[in-house]
Symmetry: C2
């Protein structure tokens, strides 16, 4: 390609002859990897005009660079980066002087993130990837998605895709969520009760920012989704952890000073327990009596294939106390970064102001793409296809676990995309995961879901089946059993 003349800027602080400076601009570009073999340099006339220097200076610099093998001259076609030019150096030259900034003081490292679920980047190269939360290309209707994208990329939608919408969401997407998604959870909502977010995690973060301060108290389930713990830590509120049992959260354990409770009633993360109706009612009563709010993370609700779906907590809420969070990460794919929050209008107003400050609005493109995917019914088909495939995988997994004498930890009648497991006493899930990795099996050790130092973290692991083919599950499970047996010896 041609190197744009605007790539060249003389640094006014530089010393040395102009010819030298021009040469340095070229060699810096080549060594920095910005100019590549075959790239064409601007003509000497053009570069001279641009830099406000004489043409002969540029010609002399180019000639010198040809002599040094950085450039080649192809007669009237001009100058090109030579195939013999030195290879780019990996690191840039260090700054001219030693930096005088004390970063540890200046930054303070205030954004702490705890242990996350470890997963090799090249997880696709493993034969038995029992991992969680990545899209499955085999199940995604790529063709229809592309068709919806093409429709949205037409001239008619130019404004929706490209305009600065300030604080507003795409009204098409909001309408589709209200019409097609929320009713399945028993939820009615008006447009001013819905906010589009950059995924469910962004909705959780927004809720925490809007509802919590250093003087307020949040209650969360324990064990729990590790990112939620980080979000609450960053908000600097007081936090209470409520240990769940086989049926999820126990409403009687919520301390009366709670301001906001975060919960996953459809199926608890990570144990998959579904909160029974009597507990849901008790929970809402507690919220009213003790005047706290509830953030309901309804992740993966589309995947409740083992039971008739229970209505969302939000659908039982007559008081506006529940802030409901949904996501397209599972029904479409996580790289889309789209989710939504449904709450009382004052909460949505405040959340929208915050979002307006942080990033204005979610990109117009992805909102309209998703709106069309919903409108045309592809979303429903996608959800059904995924739930069907996961049900089949789950059946194979349950059967394989039973055959190998491995028992899941706790009940799980919901479905979802993972099973929560306990290791035998004395066997560390980290050790197990490390050994299995060497045999091309990936499992997710449980420590990330617990407080650092909690022994139960070493005693649990998660088996995801959203990225593993049914046919790989029996052998993968057998390998887990084999390594477990070795570790117990």
């Amino acid at each position: 390609m041609s190197i744009a003349v605007e790539s060249f800027l003389l640094n006014p602080t530089n010393t040395g002859t102009l010819q030298r400076q021009v040469q340095d601009l070229v060699t810096d570009g080549i060594l920095g990897g910005r100019f590549r073999p075959g790239d064409r340099l601007p003509s000497s006339r053009k570069l001279a005009t641009h830099l406000g220097i004489s043409r002969i200076t540029v010609t002399l610099a180019y000639t010198e660079l040809v002599a040094n093998d950085y450039l080649t001259s192809r007669g009237r076609s001009g100058y090109f980066v030579s195939d013999q030019a030195p290879a780019p150096v990996d690191t840039l030259p260090p700054p001219a002087g030693p930096s005088t900034v004390d970063w540890s003081r200046t930054l303070g490292g205030r954004i702490g993130t705890s242990l996350t679920i470890s997963r090799p980047e090249a997880w696709r190269d493993y034969r038995y990837p029992f991992i969680y939360g990545q899209p499955d290309q085999r199940l995604f209707d790529h063709q229809s998605w592309r068709r919806c994208a093409m429709q949205a990329l037409g001239r008619r939608d130019f404004d929706a895709l490209t305009a600065d919408a300030y604080e507003a969401d795409d009204p098409e997407l909001v309408a589709q969520i209200i019409r097609l998604i929320l009713p399945r959870r028993g939820i009615s909502a008006r447009p001013d009760q819905v906010l589009i977010t950059l995924g469910a995690q962004n909705a959780l973060w927004t809720a925490a920012q809007v509802l919590l301060t250093q003087r307020r108290t949040a209650a969360m389930e324990y064990p729990c989704y590790p990112v939620l713990r980080d979000i609450l830590t960053q908000s600097r509120c007081n936090t209470t952890e409520l240990t769940v049992d086989n049926a999820g959260l126990r409403p009687e354990t919520i301390p009366p000073e709670t301001d906001v409770l975060f919960t996953t009633p459809s199926h608890h993360c990570p144990t998959s327990a579904t909160l029974p109706l009597d507990r849901r009612r008790a929970l809402l009563k507690r919220a009213q009596d003790d005047d706290f709010l509830i953030v309901e993370d309804d992740y993966e609700f589309e995947l409740g294939f083992m039971t008739r779906p229970a209505p969302a907590l939000k659908s039982l809420d007559t008081d506006g106390r529940v802030i409901y969070i949904g996501s397209f990460s599972k029904s479409l794919f996580p790289g889309l970064r789209l989710g939504y929050m449904v709450a009382a209008a004052p909460v949505i107003r405040e959340a929208r102001s915050l979002r307006g400050l942080v990033l204005r609005h979610p990109p117009g493109h992805i909102q309209r793409f998703a709106a069309y995917y919903l409108t045309h019914g592809y979303y429903d088909a996608q959800v059904q296809r995924t739930a069907r495939a996961f049900r089949a995988r789950r059946e194979v997994l349950d059967e394989s676990l039973a055959r190998n004498g491995l028992e899941p930890a706790g009940r799980n009648g919901f479905g979802g995309s993972s099973v929560w497991m306990r290791t035998p006493d004395g066997v560390s899930a980290d050790d197990l995961a490390a050994r299995l990795r060497a045999r091309s099996v990936l499992i997710e050790p449980g420590a990330a879901f617990f407080r650092p130092g909690d022994a139960r973290g070493q005693n649990h692991y998660r088996l995801g089946y959203s990225s593993i083919d049914s046919t790989a599950i029996p052998t993968g499970t057998a390998l887990i059993a084999e390594e477990l047996a070795r570790l117990q010896r």
Copy 2:
């Protein structure tokens, strides 16, 4: 379309007969606008199985709904929402009980936003829209953008578009920014010194969050970009406002206790002053001597068509003190929500952790679309085409202003997409804007750029030329002069 059976959920708290409840589910759907005339209901058998009730209950409910004109029966084809069904009501029924939540206490309205630039939503219906910051469909290469999107939507890029990338950016986009954009600003960077953001505003917000606390002091230019003031207010740091002159920020006015300075050296927002080289050097020296950091907002740098582009402040920074912010909002379009931050690796690491918590990563789609637009050279062509068009508009505007005796406030030798104007003494820019609006002319009153109550806010306005055609500029300008003359009488 067919209404999915999953749309129906019996609310376990409801009383009344099952038949009544089924009828309510249907009427709620119709009155709430979710079920529309012509939509097909699930078969009675299917709905009965789904709800776990007898089929005859559903049939009786449907029959009753036909009698009430909500549904029509088309024999064996089933039941459909009737064309005679009542129209949806705009607001949903109020919640069953009065809400007991005291929102003013619970939320506290902590996310304050100040006055923003007012602009009617239907600005395209105005004949003389001197507005700022919206995309211009006439200049955008829609066809090539679509082509890049199609390429990215192919199977080869499935992972880049759909996978959960956690904290990572699209490496293709980062590489293109480093190779094609930063060198034009005289900036060299390694990938670990670049963070992709959801637009420049998101980069400013991130910088403020990472660098400021309640115990730190920010300095900002005055007047200034109103969103920056809101961002600093939300960070709760101390803030000093530094009044700019005709050449922008005066380095000698920066108080020694400053921790972070926010500046727009290429052309100050909103006055368009370009910071001269001696002040840039003085600024960097002050930063080193007094140990503060500089956030350089290089918005619209692509539009410096009136002068040879000055290298960015960041290009003179040997000490890692400058955090550089760029955006695709002007070179592509604002609805894309893409920008970038270039800074020392420790700053980028911290900013990335924060972003990971807030939203994980920018959507894969828009990152890869933009990467291809850069790779294929469309970006360069786009920038050149836009700068050419804006230069032509600016020439017409300057000439029209002169002919009508209107003088811009301060110097502006940069270019950009707007001119900063002063009203004659005693004439309020708000009044002027209101009168002009009635004559199909939109201007942007200056109050948003000043502190509330500062009289200078009433004395300034901005004329944007990014959305107005050259041919409309002379008449628009004449109308402004005409209304100004009336107001002075």
